[in-house]
């Protein structure tokens, strides 16, 4: 009996396994047939003549490769909206969150069957364009893209142009100041100080925070905390440093050879020495410094405004009467001040040479950039996902964040005249975030310094070494702040930077900058 049972079980197992494998194979064939990849498959050959006879102009399903997002592209409401408005169904695949560039290169190298691809790293795009892997979109945009030419500025299109040919459709980023120093204004009131306007006043305030301990934290009191970063926004601005690359006398200069670097590092070092800067900052992760601030132990923190909604809830629970805001730009010893503005392209969408429907891609993008459609994609419908209040777009929760919160991943090219206004609806998620965004962004023009490399074209050496160079500067600055600043330590920073390929990159950057 039991032997028979065993035999039967084995046979069933074999059978089920075979069935499942067959089912997998079947799925694949069907999917291939739908996108027209395998004309030999019977399901495709049966469908094709039928559909072409019924509606000769039926629009093809476009296969897209997108950047990582947490939600599912294909079931997200925006995908359906695009289908309704443009008539094109897009089947979205997605790159992984981790090292998307590696995967993208693998896919491109092995022959992609995608109709269009979003490249988050614009340097990847330039690589493909140089290697002749992309379709020239210039004639197609000329013929089918009036809205594209209307919505995108010539400068933007020039950013996706290689050797006089437009190979991609660039999607602009909102330009904004991202980081700043949040200060506890209730602490300021308690120690009887005003909002610091200069670095001297800042030091004065920190000393008061340290000595008077307005938070009642005892030995856990931290006047000022940051992550393990070397360049602290607002403070570096007071020394005329605005990030890794700065314009000095019309030339791009890396921060490693910035004349004010030593003064800046000495200043931060002095904060550290006097016990004003968090003793543990060199090992802080962003979660650690957030912990110190939101539990009410720190008076000032370096933060991105995008973190404010989370901080706000936490700090209000721990210290119910806590109040905080970004410190406006502080003036340094030479009267300089300001913030770094981040911007540039969010992504560039391109059509691989092997794509089957380049014309349809351009037609779809053109339809998406119709001003009304674009607005619908980006913020949805008035009364459903947003309301208009004095020209401000206010989100309706939770509909807005459920249906349009990830809309930026779907847009291809921006309605450049309007998207910033639409985009601010996202900030209204939290009033504290919106107000603080305004605080660091609505400042006089001369205090805003655009990142020098924001719109840089393909710079091969920079793209290969940029990240390594940035972290070399960061590491050496942290070391100086902890160990002491001297001409030797500045020299060793420069040596490390050069050793990581800095000199060649600097040359490449300045050649490009001069030709601009």
């Amino acid at each position: 009996m039991s032997r028979k049972k065993g035999l039967a079980a084995l046979l069933v197992l074999l059978l089920s396994f075979a069935t499942i494998l067959a089912a997998c194979g079947g799925n694949n064939k069907d999917a291939g047939g739908n996108s027209g990849a395998s004309p030999a498959s019977p399901s495709a050959s049966a469908k094709a003549p039928e559909s072409s006879a019924a509606a000769p102009e039926e629009k093809p399903v476009l296969k897209a490769l997108r950047n990582y997002m947490q939600d599912d592209y294909n079931s997200y409401p925006v995908n359906q909206y695009i289908q309704e408005k443009t008539g094109y169904t897009v089947r979205n695949d997605m790159l992984p969150q981790e090292k998307p560039g590696d995967k993208l290169n693998l896919i491109m190298a092995s022959g992609a069957d995608y109709d269009f691809i979003d490249a988050m790293n614009t340097q990847d795009f330039f690589n493909f364009a140089k290697n002749g892997a992309l379709t020239d979109l210039t004639p197609l945009i000329e013929q089918f893209g009036p809205n594209i030419k209307q919505a995108l500025s010539p400068e933007s299109l020039a950013g996706a142009t290689v050797d006089g040919k437009i190979y991609g459709i660039p999607t602009l980023n909102v330009s904004y100041v991202r980081d700043g120093l949040l200060i506890r204004t209730d602490w300021l009131d308690k120690v009887g100080k005003a909002m610091p306007k200069t670095l001297d006043e800042f030091v004065d305030v920190l000393k008061a925070f340290k000595e008077q301990d307005p938070g009642g934290n005892g030995k856990n009191n931290i006047p000022f905390t940051i992550d393990s970063i070397g360049l602290v926004d607002n403070i570096m601005g007071a020394f005329g440093i605005y990030g890794q690359w700065n314009e000095l006398d019309g030339k791009p200069v890396n921060v490693s050879s910035h004349p004010a670097l030593k003064d800046y590092a000495s200043f931060v070092r002095s904060l550290y020495e006097q016990g004003l800067l968090d003793k543990e900052f060199a090992t802080n992760k962003s979660a650690t410094s957030a912990e110190k601030f939101t539990s009410g132990r720190a008076g000032v923190i370096w933060a991105r405004w995008s973190s404010i909604p989370g901080y706000d809830e936490a700090i209000k629970k721990n210290v119910p009467d806590a109040a905080y805001q970004f410190i406006p730009p502080m003036t340094g010893p030479d009267g300089q001040s300001g913030f770094t503005q981040i911007g540039g392209f969010n992504k560039i969408t391109f059509v691989p040479k092997s794509a089957k429907h380049p014309e349809d891609v351009v037609k779809m993008v053109n339809a998406m950039l119709d001003p009304e459609t674009f607005k619908g994609i980006f913020v949805g419908e008035e009364g459903v996902t947003y309301t208009l209040e004095n020209g401000n777009y206010m989100p309706i929760e939770p509909a807005f964040f459920e249906q349009r919160g990830s809309a930026n991943n779907f847009v291809i090219g921006m309605d450049e005249a309007n998207f910033v206004t639409y985009w601010q609806a996202r900030l209204q998620k939290s009033k504290a975030m919106f107000d603080n965004f305004q605080l660091v962004n609505n400042i006089p023009k001369e205090q805003i310094h655009q990142d020098v490399l924001a719109f840089a074209p393909y710079l091969p050496k920079y793209s290969a070494n940029g990240a390594k160079l940035d972290s070399a500067v960061n590491d050496y600055l942290i070391k100086m702040i902890v160990d002491g600043v001297s001409d030797d330590s500045i020299a060793s920073l420069q040596k490390a930077w050069n050793g990581a390929g800095g000199e060649e990159v600097a040359q490449e950057v300045s050649v490009w900058y001069a030709s601009k």
Binding site: D72, E98, S286
Partner: protein, 294 residues
């Protein structure tokens, strides 16, 4: 009446110390897990401000419920279960079927064939050729790309072959004398007495299929095919400092709260946590299988 031999004090202290140290280090290993568990049951504000240690603060089931209701999570979970179940069954079957003839040394050319298997264990094409192979077989975006290439793991195959070899030959001979066919011998004798090795190997395969994230990352672009490990990795990496620095602001605005990330880890660990203790004894046995040849 006391029959047991009294141990000297020094030995009692020694044994006691050993127990304390072992229990202590065991608990130490448990701490990070308890911390994640506590976070998954705490309110988000408490996690951000670092209040959560080993016990939840401001207890809430919201995070766990959110994860359980999340359609993407459910989908990823089912995909992982499917790949693990089908993959392990298939792999055990194929491994067992290939190992059996390889254990019969008298078959002509069997050594050469075994060498072919071992060759693939030592040398392989590498990442890009394998990727191209999968692509040209039209297995991209197909779960078979995770199962088919892993059906035979040569190491497991050798384990099985050694086990078969350790079976006394007289067992099969006697069956032959009684007139049993080769198939009959395999089905009625070899398979029933190989239960331990089957259990071990299927556990090895199941763990492999369950925790594999690299191949899905390479071969699957369709988000709806994402298995649990890939989903988990994305969620966890989201808030890494490197990611915070490089992501665009819209992605940062959509970050999932810390509590939900921790709840995702907990919920996806539980199934394998439940299976492990029951199979652990096979795991330990498995290491010894085939190590001593009779």
């Amino acid at each position: 009446m006391e029959h047991s031999i009294k141990r000297p004090w020094s030995e009692k202290i020694y044994i006691g110390a050993v127990y304390v140290i072992l229990i202590g280090s065991g608990i130490l290993c448990l701490f990070p897990f308890l911390n994640v568990l506590a976070k998954s049951l705490s309110a988000n504000w408490a996690i951000i401000s670092g209040k959560v240690g080993l016990l939840p603060v401001a207890f809430t089931m919201e995070n766990v419920m959110f994860v359980l209701r999340d359609r993407l999570f459910q989908n990823a979970f089912l995909i992982s279960v499917f790949v693990t179940v089908v993959g392990s069954l298939g792999a055990v079957l194929f491994t067992a079927v290939s190992a059996y003839p390889l254990s019969k040394k008298h078959l002509p050319g069997i050594k050469f064939i075994l060498l072919l298997y071992i060759f693939t264990m030592l040398f392989n094409g590498g990442l890009v050729p394998t990727y191209l192979l999968i692509k040209n077989l039209h297995l991209m975006d197909n779960l078979a790309s995770l199962i088919l290439p892993a059906l035979i793991n040569v190491f497991n195959l050798l384990l099985m072959k050694n086990y078969y070899e350790s079976l006394p030959e007289s067992l099969e001979e006697s069956a032959k004398l009684d007139g049993a066919s080769n198939l009959r011998i395999v089905l009625s004798i070899v398979i029933p007495i190989s239960a331990p090795v089957f259990a071990t190997i299927s556990l090895f395969y199941a763990v492999y299929f369950w925790s594999n994230w690299f191949h899905p990352m390479l071969y699957l672009n369709d988000p709806s095919l994402k298995p649990l490990q890939l989903y988990l990795r994305d969620i966890i990496l989201q808030a890494s400092d490197e990611n915070l620095l490089n992501q665009d602001i819209d992605a940062l605005l959509n970050l999932s709260p810390e509590g939900i990330r921790n709840a995702t880890i907990i919920v996806s660990t539980i199934p394998i946590l439940l299976v492990y203790p029951m199979l652990q004894k096979y795991f330990i046995k498995g290491i010894l299988i085939g190590s001593v040849k009779g």
